[in-house]
Symmetry: C2
Subunit: 426 residues, 2 copies
């Protein structure tokens, strides 16, 4: 964990894919004790690409940093009971169940009989319980038709799972709001959050639902331009690409100054009777402005452009690949206290992020790696359920629990390493 | 507000653009009393597009639903003092300052002298205080080069401000974690959250930072395909477009069944020695699979496709424009309790979203519209600072406070309505 804000909160997580695990990760990095329940051998996303030559999933280990893992066979009635006991165990001030794979034996109703102040949070695809994933929600939002050169005939999906991210953080927020209430009133809560509701409510908050409901003109694809202000990508003389944004009037003034456009912009404004300090005029006149900026940037090297834009306080950024980001950008390096090097079993030593927020004057605690499956099975049963070593050994013997697994540490776990390596270069 | 989970929390918000106002909106919808401070006449995003013929911004009103507004001239020392007094006022159990426009007179240090248990949250572009917006962060993530048909030469920006959304909800979460701590310990906290840190930490959690750090092969643009599993867009016989996802093994089985592919897939698997139940093989074989699915979907009407996919439990979605979403999708309608009709001054009656989460067995309270600028100036000074009517009148007379404004209610506020109408059809 990075900070202890949520100390005293115990979360039992039963999850797969992105939104729910990232919600749990977020709670863990801000101080909750997040216990991830896993099937013996791993759940449906345990081997998701990309995977290391030894078979360990970089996807899974990235989303489960800093959690504890208990591996239980819930096909056995005793396994189900163990998991129910963990969720409803006393001994912590707030108990949370987080899941996106709801099942009857973990229903809020049945669990809250044992622990009336339980907070449960179920993340769903759609509110009616039907399946949806980021891709099948995004296609319905209208964004693919107006992304880049997108159209009805050639929609462009997003590669970033943006709705999963929004859902994860929104769910972490809602759970924490329930925790805050619990700390005052002792009340539990049953929360349900649908991925599609997160998407469509966000669109309402961004104004796009209202625009459409009021039958305002439909947004059109405008390439890489920023809607409603000025911003676009430009190429330098030495073929580097930058994104320049002039959303606020101050940002616009900085751009005009950096590119030495004061005189020509003044002449255009007087002639056309417009004022580019006004974002509406700036958006309308974006082709004219872009032509001038492109001319200035295209005549200079990246180094000169960067220096001039920075000197004037322009809001801009560089286009780079993920590898260039990690190799060259100080914001993704040990120079940024948000990042540190961690050692993940089966993956190796690598850069990893802790909590995104910084708490001034508070020490950041080390970022912990993802657990091995069942790494904390015994410890959790001792800590939380106060089982004896004898009982725990018996649960192992009868195959009710397992762990820690050894597979990821040695190449050739479930499948051969040669095969895994092939997959990596696909 | 929708729910009262955060009742007893007072947030003073000084903000512009998306991340900070959406953070405040989120806190408001879950029960905080969010008081938005505005400049008299409005801040830098008060007229942001799209705007109504009368001049009111649909963007601004969408992001500020359910907040109270006080309009203060902070160029006057007395205005600064009023705002400081509001932030540090006693009389509520948790006091929060939320801003993305930090200024010395609102520094945590100076305010916490008056209220040591203050929670402040500053949203920044970059952690060093330099400017960044969603677009200038996104270009640096590497995603534009692998979105759709994107490449280094032709990167594709996202139209959805995904990092702003993630930042808003992450900030709402972090603030609420600090509120939860405050309710146990009485401690305050100074939080700082950078948009770029939210983006890059999310990439670490999604595994992409680790992939790059370990020098795994760089991700390539794969059009509308889903990475690491199977999913793509397909066109029906009557030219409707659908997105089909087979991420889990169960989703894959459903797709095979729906499209009657059991026999041919079996033959291919035996011949090639692969197993498409394995997501890795499925991703590798995506062109073969897509060819078969395209043939099946392309031979059928949308109605038939929808029925067959639903009957088999396939995970799929429809591509539609924002207008079609609002007109046709029951998830964005009064049939979904997350939405209701509200009346916004200067905008009219329209569909609007409350909290995305649903609290089972708790009534959803009405979604309230955005305030007029300074609509609650007098009420807030009476409520929070216990000023007399005489003092409040004097503040009005001296131009320290204002409100409620009338502009948005009548056409031709700051600019002519004819001009606004032109803007709408740009």
């Amino acid at each position: 964990m990075t900070y202890r804000l949520l100390a005293g909160t115990r979360v039992i997580e039963s999850s797969a894919f992105i939104a729910a695990p990232l919600c749990g990760l977020t709670l863990a990095q801000y101080g909750a004790d997040v216990i991830r329940f896993d099937l013996i051998g791993g759940g449906i996303d345990y081997r998701r690409l990309p995977v290391m030559p030894g078979g360990r999933s970089v996807y899974w280990t990235s989303l489960n940093k800093g959690k504890r893992s208990i591996a239980i066979d819930i096909r056995k009635p005793e396994g189900k009971e163990l998991l129910r006991a963990l969720v409803t165990a006393p001994g912590t001030d707030t108990a949370v169940l987080l899941t996106n794979v709801p099942s009857a034996f973990l229903s809020h109703q049945s669990l809250s009989a044992a622990r009336p102040d339980l907070i449960s949070c179920t993340i769903e695809g759609n509110a009616d319980g039907s399946t949806a994933v980021d891709y099948t929600v995004h296609c319905a939002t209208g964004y693919p038709m107006i992304t880049g050169t997108g159209s009805r005939e050639h929609p462009i999906n997003q590669t970033l799972p943006a709705w999963d991210l929004a859902c994860a953080y929104h769910a972490a927020f809602a759970v924490t709001a329930a925790v805050a209430q619990h700390r005052v009133s002792g009340q539990g809560a049953e929360l349900r959050i649908a991925l599609s509701d997160v998407a469509f409510t966000a669109m309402s908050h961004l104004g796009t639902v209202t625009e459409a409901a009021l039958a305002m003109p439909e947004r059109q694809a405008i390439g890489n331009d920023i809607y409603g202000a000025f911003g676009r990508d430009f190429v330098t003389k030495d073929d580097r690409r930058v994104m320049v944004a002039a959303v606020s009037a101050r940002q616009w003034q900085a751009l005009v100054q950096a590119c030495a456009l004061t005189e020509v912009i003044g002449a255009i404004e007087r002639t056309l009777g417009v004022s580019y300090a006004d974002e509406e005029d700036r958006f309308e006149g974006r082709e004219i402005i872009a032509g001038l900026v492109a001319r200035w940037i295209g005549a200079r090297s990246f180094a000169d452009v960067a220096q001039a834009l920075d000197a004037a306080g322009v809001c801009w950024g560089i286009y780079q690949s993920m590898r260039e980001l990690v190799q060259n950008d100080p914001r993704v390096s040990l120079n940024n206290p948000v990042f540190s090097d961690i050692e993940t079993a089966g993956v190796g030593r690598h850069l990893a992020a802790g909590a995104a927020a910084r708490l001034v004057d508070q020490e950041r605690l080390p970022t912990r790696p993802a657990p091995l499956l069942g790494e904390h099975s015994d410890e959790i049963l001792r800590d939380v359920l106060h089982l004896s070593d004898l009982s725990i050994a018996s649960l192992h013997d009868r195959g009710v629990i397992a762990g820690p697994e050894q597979d990821p540490l040695t190449p050739g776990g479930r499948r051969s390493s040669a095969r895994r390596e092939t997959a990596l270069v696909t």
